[in-house]
Symmetry: D2
Subunit: 347 residues, 4 copies
């Protein structure tokens, strides 16, 4: 049994980790860390866990935790994991960080976008970007994994094969993304009250959202050169789900939709969690809700010479906790879909 | 492996059966029956099943099906199961009927409330009412199981111990129930369009909803005498969930809340799926969503001498498909929570 | 032009007052009071008011305000209006209080349920309970009006004629009420976040909600004697709307539905804002949204001898700001529906 | 009083026309036309109108109607208005068509995108495209007005000044639009059921939505040359609202945000219904709900040389019925905001 500790288990992503790990056949949660609810019963914070979790929330002492765990998930605000990680911790156990601390390889870019001084820049180089379908082999050997952001997971996987194969011009890439409200976290803010979110849609972080450099860096690796793109997130009145609608010009307008499909299949045809939709079918977030699947579809627009790429995930699963478990499975040599092979919940 | 056939697999309850059975370790679906989608791929009807279900929808020939299956679930409109069931079918396999055809023991009551001539009244006596926590032993031996209605499951389980123990006066029982919209089914009706349901709540079937006699019959058995009660369902703008708020006078105002709790514990303390909430905690549908749990709470109102009972379930799980699987587990001698032991999905 | 000041203009009820008064032909808002947003532009707090309101939020000095206004609305937390009201204020202008401070005639009941020491009990006697359809004549002469609560407005108006005429036994009255989330206010609380409210329904304040004594007092006047009833509110995932489903035994089971209807018509047939629905029609909150209407329907249940009464209002309009404007109209001798004669918004 | 007839009064746009016209001081509805509900009371189809509209639905005989009306609104499926319009009708009264029949000047484009043979191509030339802020003077003199589509109104107004002034390269224009579900109409379709729409977002009509040529034609006039653009609509789980997020490259990256703002102000500074948001503020559909306002914001992205334009409207008001009333006001010489000068409804 893999002994698991969770720092930040009382946020939405942390709670989703708990939900997924409770039915994972090879893992057992031994530490429910929380900053706000120390000494309270976990099931009093999330009553869906009543009679399923008897544990009491504990603090967030990573070093103490490292002695009890084989793997630690940190689902915490930016900056915390960078502060807590150490050689001692990494020697004793694996760390899978759901925050952004180790996602960007360029510490200056990190500090510019996050406006935080990075507390352990030395580990940036070692950390592996945990986008399983792209970096699988590196993940298997990693001690420290930077679990990707929710928008980035969806945005990158939707475009990756076409960028990698030179089918689209990466400098024309525009990503218009839409997210359910759980992505905003469980903090008590007026802007996230039911009556403020319900019956409305809004853009936010226009031209300055922090997931932008993360997408650019990863797709830059695929393109083999740096790239700059437009990324606009929107808040949608639903609990879960991310849809990314991406626009790019074909590098050659004669590229056929069969060739586009072939590029996707080259990279994804054996991927359990990526579902390339049939011609004419577009992704909808409802069809992936509660699951680790990524649904991807595309339309070639003959009129404009553009291709419209569309991807959908559950932001809390493939966009956070599910991918973290997938990373754990890789690190511990388990079949990648262990504990994650279930159907999306509908309706 | 239990071979499973589903008649009506393309309704919401049928689809939930598919979702649950896909991860059931002892069951395998061999027949996806559908009236409307014969010869279409199941995953084209419910795209959440893409890459998980390759089957094509087949017709609803119960006799043919009986040769291929160990158990048949009928998630069909009222009257269909009664028409299709036969000695030949029941000799070959078990039938778990999610419609109302075999729930009421009095065929006249059935015909009066459903306005349908019952096609096989002879089987009514044999059929076992599949409320697992109450009729467990009979279910284990049954060939034909009448899976309870969603409102009824919630309403009965919430009140049962207090009626059985004579703590409340059954003739004062008033049940005000609220349901998510999946309970209305997947038929294309103006009344169930998004814009008609969203941002509104309404009562319906006031004083004449068909689940009324079902609740009365079952609670009448508990009371040891016939009873008449008020039942009012309401439509709530959410996908899933039923909340029953029930009001009844105590038979003796001196009965304490500890005595009320003791009555619940007498019947439910070892039940896996029933979660009796702590004092002061009330059920909310979000805490059971996606699961087979029943959350129950109560408040004794000293001012009025009444007790307010509250129960919450997921209408598609404990109120339909989950309870049907629980019944299947009982019939086939499996641990009752096989394939159902997972946490509710939140948010 | 009536000069209007609003204390608490940045809460949801305060904002609704602003919306309604902007198109009121005889009123002009001269003071936008706010505790949290002083010196900020009102339209920065509520962007729907951009280009419609240029004012900046001011403080909540009732005495200063009294010099500039003909009427002051206080849409503030419990206790504040009682602290601020004075002879000087009431001499200079009318006060319409949307809080609970002057709703209950018995100061001990107020202090017991609200757990606040009442700061100006001397004015309780003078204050008129502003339920326009019941207390119209007293309201016209009042200086200080206690605008009723949202649940209470709906609950009382739905039952009033039947209690008054002795058609129902008031001691059997059970009110199961459901409210949209704007009733919970704009405070930043985890419990009111989108993801916490959406896709769920829950009861709260069971057997101890503060609107209970208010309903009991007013219906007690109608009954001619004190009464005790059960009242259970529920939170519904929608912005606006209250539905009250009320259960009571007929004092005589032979009372016909025509007699019940006649009782309603006796009191309401000339009321502009009360719409008694046709036989067989039940109220739904969507049909009153954004308006000051009260939709009322009922069903006599022959089986149980009970009558089920149902009423629907918009909690922010008839349940708060709309009724406050209606009260203002009465006080200033205007036609009662001035500024309020528009259709509900659907969908 | 302007006598108004409405063909298609029982659709969502038709009902919104009724709502708006009921409080219009210069208009009176004399004909509630409907295909599906002839001889039924209008208030039985839309119960919000109970006690406000006593009329019974009548048929859709445009010629008969022309004798009783000064203006006819046709809120009907594509093709119907083109079939019914005639010289006799236009001689007697104005026609404001909410369908697409007269929006496109090129009949071949119409027939290609709508797959309908146009029944009265001769009137296409005469028809004026009723985008009030752009074509105000032509509208005043028109007999036949083509009321713009909901997506098109929002998309065009958001981009118009920048295209007209040559600030953006029109061939780089990409419009990612999001709509509430009322835009899908009141037809009973599975895809529009509550449980299918709720908790999901999806794109549709990708690269082939019928509003595309309409946007292209109108922005082409502004650009002074034909243009081709990408337009992708999405369905959002909310009743009302359209948000258009538009991306375009600046024709010169040195263009400043002040120059962009100046372009907007040049065209819109005196427009009552267009609200150009302050720097840093983005539109949200909730702030225009129920109103005829268009909220517009923009962000210059220094990194990509693009400008992101954002516009929000209520699809049923400025996107349909409200703009139709605005057109009526222009035609009859009334102040343009007559009957439309009210605040958006929030929450």
């Amino acid at each position: 049994m893999i002994r698991v500790g969770i720092i930040g288990s009382t946020g939405y992503a942390g709670q989703e980790l708990v939900r997924l790990l409770l039915t994972h056949p090879q893992a057992k949660i031994v530490w429910y860390g929380s900053q706000s609810y120390v000494d309270q019963k976990y099931a009093d914070v999330y009553r869906n866990m009543f009679k399923l979790v008897d544990d009491v929330c504990r603090g967030e002492d990573l070093t103490a935790l490292a002695n009890e765990c084989d793997v630690i998930f940190t689902a915490t605000p930016q900056g915390l994991c960078a502060k807590l990680v150490s050689e001692e911790v990494l020697t004793k156990c694996k760390v899978i960080d759901l925050s952004a601390d180790f996602r960007l390889k360029d510490v200056e870019v990190y500090e510019a976008w996050y406006k935080i001084k990075h507390a352990s820049p030395d580990y940036i180089k070692e950390a592996v970007y945990g986008l399983c379908e792209i970096n699988r082999e590196e993940i298997k050997k990693a001690r420290l994994i930077a679990n990707p952001g929710c928008y980035t997971t969806c945005s990158i996987l939707t475009a990756y094969p076409l960028v990698k194969e030179g089918i689209i011009d990466p400098d024309t890439l525009i990503i218009d993304a839409k997210s359910g409200t759980s992505g905003a976290g469980r903090g008590a803010k007026v802007a996230n009250l039911f009556c403020e979110v319900n019956e409305s849609i809004k853009p936010y972080g226009v031209a300055n959202h922090r997931h932008t450099p993360e997408i650019e860096e990863q797709l830059g690796y695929a393109a083999g050169k740096p790239l700059t793109l437009s990324f606009t997130p929107h808040l949608v009145p639903m609990n879960r789900g991310i849809l990314a609608t991406e626009y790019a010009s074909l590098t050659d307008p004669k590229i056929t939709k069969e060739e586009i499909r072939a590029a996707y299949e080259k990279y994804y045809k054996d991927e359990y969690f990526i579902r390339l939709l049939a011609d004419g079918v577009v992704p909808e977030t409802r069809w992936v809700e509660g699951s680790n699947f990524v649904d991807i579809g595309f339309v070639k627009d003959e009129r404009t010479g553009r291709v419209i790429l569309m991807g959908a995930i559950d932001n809390l699963v493939k966009g956070a906790a599910g991918q973290a478990v997938q990373n754990m499975n890789l690190v511990f040599g388990l079949p990648e879909n262990t504990g994650l092979a279930f159907a999306p919940v509908f309706p």
